[in-house]
């Protein structure tokens, strides 16, 4: 099977896609996927991630810009001329063909000799545990089996790249987690360059060697999962990545201190004075009693406690207006169910993640410590990280 050494990169050079009717789905996106890399495109629906994938496959025409697979400019090539394989959300198995013929179809179309074809199909079927299903039709398979056939159909072709369009989204939650792990293993074994599209940021973080976050057709940030999580470049990325979402509040920075809703938190470094949006992840809180004494604290009134078994989310209101920029709203809407309607009086709402044994009573004051190194500051006008 393909070894890491033959892997080629994929390069997008200021690619723009405008649909008829004038909708611009992708704006000047440049991406450099390294040979053998697993890159995840993530963003809310309508952000252009699938369009990018389809342009790489040749299913969608590029309006402006170039696409390279390896050294070759494929911008004007038809899908059948590009040596890439795609795994579709619906798996797109050919309904009237057996699993065997589904797997072998791409090889047949590329005129691979029969003996070679059979050998490769058998090999892939064996590696994916599909041998006993080879003579079945797709309709007679379970969701997980179909998913594996779709993967197998891509693998057997030994293409230059795998393109995957939300391949796990039709599986139930448990199967999805186990397939996720199998996908990682598979990629380690084959080392084929992979571009993977998902709207699920957990999937993006766990699978991707790098994650490209998109919004409205514009690339926001492309970096390792850790970097995207720790140093989001703007409000949108900050709000989109991480679950539960980052907490935001409008604050004023003066003399190295952030002031908001009656709290004052000293900030590390030497931040410039001015109005900011302050963001803090739920994990940056801890119980003041457990924490380092030097950490600043906030005393709050828990409004709601969500039990998750090994941890609990404490939700509390701040006496400050809710940060409601377009960027945070878009990101939060993409992530969670719309809960804004149930918020009291348009106040900023924070979530803190605490251990399950944390003594929390609703309505009783609780003192939390906050790690100032994990406080993010954003420009309230541009949304960019400061």
């Amino acid at each position: 099977m393909t070894m890491t050494s033959d892997a080629v990169g994929i390069r997008l050079d200021r690619v723009t896609k405008r649909f008829r009717g004038g909708v611009t789905a992708v704006r000047e996106v440049s991406l450099d996927v390294q040979p053998g890399e697993f890159l995840v495109l993530v963003g809310p629906s309508g952000c252009g991630k699938s369009t990018i994938l389809r342009m790489i496959a040749g299913l969608e025409e590029v309006t402006e810009g170039r696409i390279y697979v390896g050294e070759k400019d494929v911008t004007n090539q038809l899908p059948q001329q590009r040596d890439v394989a795609m795994v579709f959300q619906s798996y797109a198995l050919y309904p009237r063909m057996s699993v065997r013929r589904n797997l072998g179809f791409g090889l047949r179309m590329r005129r691979v000799p029969r003996a070679e074809r059979e050998r490769r199909v058998a090999e892939v079927a064996q590696s994916l545990g599909l041998e006993h299903l080879l003579d079945r039709r797709p309709a007679a398979l379970s969701g997980g089996q179909r998913q594996r056939v779709a993967m197998g159909r891509a693998i057997v072709r030994e293409p230059k790249a795998f393109l995957m369009d939300e391949p796990l989204s039709n599986l139930d939650a448990k199967l999805r987690v186990s397939m996720r792990a199998q996908l990682s293993t598979l990629h380690q074994r084959l080392g084929t360059t992979t571009v993977y599209v998902t709207h699920d940021q957990v999937e993006a973080m766990t699978l991707g060697q790098r994650v490209a976050v998109l919004r409205d057709g514009v690339l926001q940030q492309c970096d390792t999962p850790q970097e995207v999580f720790r140093r989001p470049v703007n409000l949108f990325v900050a709000a989109f990545i991480g679950s539960p979402s980052m907490n935001f509040v409008a604050a004023e920075v003066t003399g190295g201190q952030a002031k908001f809703a009656g709290f004052t938190i000293p900030l590390p470094g030497e931040p410039a004075d001015g109005q900011v949006v302050l963001g803090v992840r739920p994990t940056a809180f801890s119980l003041a009693t457990d924490a380092n004494r030097d950490l600043p604290t906030m005393t709050i009134q828990p409004r709601l406690v969500e039990e998750l078994g090994d941890e609990r989310y404490v939700i509390f209101d701040l006496d400050a207006p809710r940060v409601d920029t377009e960027a945070t709203r878009a990101a939060v809407e993409a992530q969670t169910a719309e809960d804004a309607l149930l918020l009291p009086e348009n106040k900023a709402q924070f979530t803190a993640r605490l251990p399950a044994d944390a003594p929390v009573t609703i309505g009783e004051p609780l003192t939390l410590a906050i790690d100032p190194h994990r406080v993010h500051l954003f420009d309230p006008q541009t949304g960019l990280a400061r």
Binding site: E61, N76, Q77, L78
Partner: protein, 296 residues
Amino acid sequence: MRRIRAWGPGFLLVLPSLILLGIFVYGFLGWNVRVSFTDWMQFGETSGFVGLQRYSELAENEVWWRDVRHLLVFTLVFVVGSLLFGFFMALLLEKGVRGENFFRSVYLFPMAISFIAVAIVWRWLLDNGSGVNTAGINKLFAYIGLESIRSDWHKTDSGWAVAAVALPAGWALSGYVMALFLAGMRGVPDELREAARVDGAREPAVFWHVVRPMLWPVIMSALVILAHISLKTFDLIYAIDLRSPRIETPAVYMWFQTFQANFYARGAAVATLLLLGVAVFIVPYIWYSLKTERRR
């Protein structure tokens, strides 16, 4: 360039069909309109351009207007009758009855029979022999003691005689209307009805407020299809009684003008008017259907 390589093969594949239809539909329609502007009388004769003369002749032609009146009566009775009848049958079947397939198949089977065969049978059923010679449907009335409503059907001199021909036409097509309505009624999601029932609506109210509003597209389809069939119908009338002026319609008139009288130009003018009559509602119908399709 990539574009043409992408769609070019598909276009080539449909091209033969497009050429054939271009000639046989649009070419011939145009040619026919052109013929209607001439004085072509005998087959193969060259002919001169006379503008709208054929049409103005028709406007003063009593036979033409009589036939138009027949067509209107026929259309009215046939379309309204089939719609009501088909709707009623769909209503009976809607809830799902035992043996539904059997009933549906029986109601629909006339669609499989040619109008010629339909006409030949119905010609005898509408036979108006009198006294001991009473036959057909009149005889059936006599059997059940309803002799008084016997009728001379299409043989009366009344301008409504052509309505009798709507009976076999309706017999042939109301099953079709039923099938359309049934599909429309069944297309209403069960959840909608259930929601209405839970909200306290009784069955008639469920039908009126939930099902009925969703039947408009069906009614439109049925209306358009029936009306265009009614305009075109030639074989049924021809075979029921080809020589009866009482049931002659423009479609039949066109036939006689063209192939009996060899007055091609006038036949073409009548055909052009038929085409206009059909296009007036078919074009918006196609446009509307494809527009709703695109919205989906």
